[in-house]
């Protein structure tokens, strides 16, 4: 599953960024870097949340054992 960004990773990263940013001992450079990273994670999360078209595929095994998938209308 390396081909798509992980929503879970983005959310977990975002949560840890916010926690650190809300802490009292962050210097300004660090705060800025955290913020920028946070915005990137937000973009990943929002992009996945706004994905509208769901993919449903049917998995078949070929005679030689390789797997193929085809779109399935449900």
């Amino acid at each position: 599953m390396t081909d798509r960004p992980s929503f879970r990773e983005a959310l977990e990263r975002l949560e840890s960024i916010v926690r650190e940013l809300e802490g009292s001992d962050v210097d300004l450079d660090r705060a800025l870097a955290l913020f920028e990273d946070g915005v990137r994670q937000l973009q990943v999360a929002r992009a996945l949340l706004s994905e509208g078209e769901q993919k449903v595929r049917r998995v078949l095994a070929e005679a030689d054992g390789t797997l193929v998938t085809r779109d399935l209308d449900v």
Partner: protein, 385 residues
Amino acid sequence: MGGLSLFDGIAPTDGAWSVAQVTQRARQLVEAGFDRLWVRGEVTGLKAYQSGHWYFSLRDRQAQVRCVMWRMDTQRLREPPEDGTEVFAEARPTVWEERGEFRLTVKQLIPTSADGMWQARLERAREALARDGLLDPSRKRPIPPYPRRLAIVTSPDGAALRDIVSVVRRRWPAVELLVVPARVQGETAEAELCAALALAGRLDVDAVIVGRGGGSREDLWAFNSERVARAVAAAKVPTISAVGHETDVSLTDLVADFRAATPSAAAEAAVPDRGAVLGLVNGLARRLAGGLTGRVDLATQRLDRTADRLASGAGGRLERGRSRLDALGAGLNALSPLRVLERGFAVARDERGQVLRHVGAFTPGARFRLTVLDGDVPARVEGGP
């Protein structure tokens, strides 16, 4: 007596046999003369003793025979059959020497009614799974909260698949569904479900849903197969069992990491609700902005103090501080645009829609667009041609 030379060890003394000798030889003859066999009959006069042993008779219209079933075998049955139950008994004929009584030592007792037979098979399969630790609650794995891909082992034409797809589409369309087809009833269902589960094991998925819609007990039988249950238990990723019934529990329900009463419920367990997650993300976005704003306010106060102290000599440093603040402002604009725009910020974009973040991006004379809360305003950088 040549034919009995096998039993030469037991011989009458003084020309007469003792009773014990007769019954002992009878037992040896009977045990040597029968293999283990299945006897069909009606249970009658059953007595279950504290010791765990059961004593009863099996009878049909012509005859009856005394039976004993020892504790090690009765333990596998939940409760003794009621009087009058017709059963198949797997038994070994013998003679109880002390009483000189012919009887059957029963190893297994299966009611002949279809229901009872299934129940007995189910019970045996359940025990086998339990022995191997497959029903241990500590084996249960959590279902991943934000799956990217799910495998669904079911019939591609069934109502179960349609239910799952429609629930997932409504809640979390970002997930990709991979349907691994298998017949879910009939003679081939067991083998097809096992093959489909093995195939699902080769896919890069976050979880597997296996199930079907509701049906009669016969229809659901494949989900009570020990082989199918073992295939579910062997899955590398968390499994959700979704067999459409509210009351009975199937074997796949018992071994799966999560048991859903219906395919729709399985889909709800497999994916989060987009609306709820959006609320969570927006909350984090607000805290992110708030966290930075707080930090910037602090920096501004410090900057002001520095400015007071250094008066004219610190101009350069103050200027660097200001431009950093401007950069922070631009960063804020990228975050949840509407919310930021509400506070009176504007986003500047060039004609290709790229956000203009730095002074250097504004070429004198260039056209750009300013997005404010309720729309876009065309704008131009002063000083151009």
